[in-house]
Amino acid sequence: MPGRTISFHPDDRYAAFLRTIPEAPCGDGRLAAVPVAVKDNISTAGIETTCASRILEGYVPPYDATVVERLKKAGAAIVGKTNMDEFGMGTTTENSAFWPTKNPVDPSRVPGGSSGGSAAAVAAGLVPLALGTDTGGSIRCPAAFCGIVGLKPTYGRVSRYGLIAYANSLEQIGPMARTVADVNLLMEVIAGHDPRDSTSRDCPYHHAPDPEIRGVRIGVPEEFFGEGVDPRVASVVWDAISLLERKGAEVITCRMPSMAYALAAYYVTCTSEASSNLARFDGVRYGPPADTKKPWHEAFQERRREGFGEEVRRRIMLGTFALSSGYYGKYYAKAQAARNNVRADFERLFREVDVLAGPTMPTVAFRFGEKSDPLSMYLSDILTVPANLAGVPAISVPCGKVEGLPVGLQVMGRWMEDERVVDVAYAFEQGGSA
């Protein structure tokens, strides 16, 4: 059967894509001939996959990630690979080794990260659907900054096979789109058990979004409106929560004390895992080769020094330190204990409420270069990392604007209750007319 293709020649003025496929193969199915953008840390057979890193330049995977297989089976056309912070390490997509992506809402601002390319491609209308990945907010942050919808599924609900690992125990691939219904559709296609991923769960996702919200108990942790959260953002999000209350939801304020340690637990865990995951990039198998005239240890160190960007090198060093003997107990082990506290907090709260809601990001999209020191950048992840630490589902849905810039409402749910966070987001999206 001669393959069908669709032509894809976007006006990529925001530099959302690292590469596009001008004639993209497609097929029959639920996503027949629908163009889908794929973040560049998801393996695509025959299409260069770099994680926006120099060290993977020229690497063409010989296999498809499970989610890509599923997209193809549904007939979708993979039309391009989207820009990102190198290996997912960042909140602005400025850490791409190639170029920054601009926010289509305001090109002087970042699109958020690390799935900034996917968010910008969707927000600019170049594709209706995109895949992102979320390790500590990397789907929800750019969704919020660009004014689109993004879902971080429950850990284990979507296969990670083929996702080039940054922090294995935290990250999930998830759908990004302009509407909740489209996010739901893409989720239906990519979710489901995969025997190749031992952390994947046998819990398929078949769901029709339901806007009925009467009786749903929404918890609002005080910590989500604490210090560092722009009061204008807080106000827009409170308005959104009030709308849900008017539609019949019960709003209950609550506390999440483990938030105090969440960011530290997150950064110790993700950098530790990253330091190990990225060890394979030594110039022997992919990317520009190491200098074979030099002794092995000199050659691979040089390759890594040159091939990784600054933020990646910083996180590798942090993680190497956290795992080193004598410090493991002080850092890695402590981080896991803190992570258990976060999980316990969620479990406790979810006995009293059905979902938790708050802002996705403490602020609106930054200007380029606005966050120059890494620590203040890390602080902006504070509201998104708890869901990753606990492995629970979380969605960001546009809920208003501050000075013309989008604000995201974040809804977090119980483990494996992705359907419910989608429903709450859907109810909000349907508006206050009910």
């Binding site: 998801i42 393996s43 996959t49 994680c51 993977l56 690497y59 995977p61 010989p62 296999y63 990630a65 990670r160 096979y161 083929g162 996702l163 080039i164 690992a165 922090a167 294995n168 125990s169 025997p195 190749r196 991923d197 031992s198 952390t199 530790s272 895992e273 330091s275 190990s276 990225l278 060890a279 394979r280 990039f281 030594d282 022997v284 198998r285 992919y286 074979t292 092995w296 240890h297 691979f300 190497t320 795992l323 080193s324 003997s325 493991y328 890695y332």
Partner: protein, 479 residues
Amino acid sequence: MTVIVGLEIHCQLDTATKLFCGCSTDYRDDPPNSHVCPVCLGLPGSLPKVNKKAVEYALKVAKALNCEVPEESEFSRKNYFYPDLDKGYQITQYDKPLAVCGYLDIEGDEGEKRVRITRVHMEEDPGRLVHKGGADRPKYTLVDYNRAGIPLIEIVTEPDLRSPKEARRFLNKLRATLEYLGVFDSEKEGSLRVDANISLAGSERVEVKNITSYKGVEKALTFEVTRQKNAIRRGQKIVRETRHFVEARGVTTSSRSKEMEQDYRYFPEPDLRPLRVRDWAEEIEIPELPDSRKQRFIDDYGLSPTHAATLTGDWQIAEFYDSLPADLKVSTATATWVADTLLGELNYRDMSIRGVPLDHFKELLIIRQSGDITEKAAVEVLRSLLDQIRESGTCELPRQCIGRLGLFAIAATEEGADDPVTAAAREAIAENPQAVADFGTGKKEALNFLVGQVMRKTRGCAKPGDVNRVLTRLLSGDE
């Protein structure tokens, strides 16, 4: 000076597929990098999936070594850079091994001995480096990942061994145990690697790495004992170090590289869930092991403990012996033949019981038992068959061989004067009048001499009983 030895043994588990992917483990005769996939190449994004068979095999080992199996066991990452390590870490086990606190009883230097097993854990084999252009200063190095991901078990003993010989005996017993379990093939090249810790009481401990054969363990340790004793005698201090065994020269050499304390930064493997192993282990059944088989050979076949130990010390030999006809198995002569003659001849040729057609030897034993050939001829046939196998890999059928060599037993008829035995006896009598005379004066040795002469004339094919009978008859003047 007391010698204190502890061993760390790595064995490849004989599964059909690798530990974390579906690639075949049967790579030895195939081109480099032909048994690889995204998982065992460590390609970005690939994920490991535990081979249940490998865990089952490892649990069998844990049970056979009388270990405690915890509720849960976990894989960890061992991080270090080396070109044969395609992920930059090895998936192994660290603080939650598969099994701990076991033991294996062996025949020690001073009788029965219990060697404690510290732990048994699973890990993946790394790839292999092939240095081209001289071992010391290679021009370049090639990497072959066919071996990457082969399941290994690491078995660690307490420092309970007291001599190189005991270490060797422990390894032999361990090998037999693993082969009885059907989880290990000792014949496969590189399937066993041993690191040995050795110290003389009161001195520092030295680690000897890179021992890849059973004999090598005894050799390396013997060398170390001598080296360390000499050093102490000369008043030198033994330094704590890692040494490498150079099999070809039978010596250990100090590692040239600086002794850096490697920090492997172990942490739990986030891509795999913990294994619930205790319940799993309880469901697994293990077959008869060397000790119980030895007892059965003593009880059921009436063998001596020595014969029983030899015949059960190797799974293939034990299987061979068990497969013999019932009337043969209970005979000491059969046990002697298999344990001493067959194994002795194999040993002499440095051949293994593998790869020899055991059915042939079973047939030879049956022919020998029937009296169609003499004991002496049977040995000659055995030697011929083994030489053929060594030359060409195959051999004749035993009957063909006997026929070709003309070794079928010559029968002496009761009264016949012209059978070959009687003819040979007449010749011997005629040629040796002195012996005949000595026999007449009652010298028993004279008869033995004449028997020898007849045997030589019949090229060993006459049955000793016949020769005795015919000679006695002729000499006593019945004719």
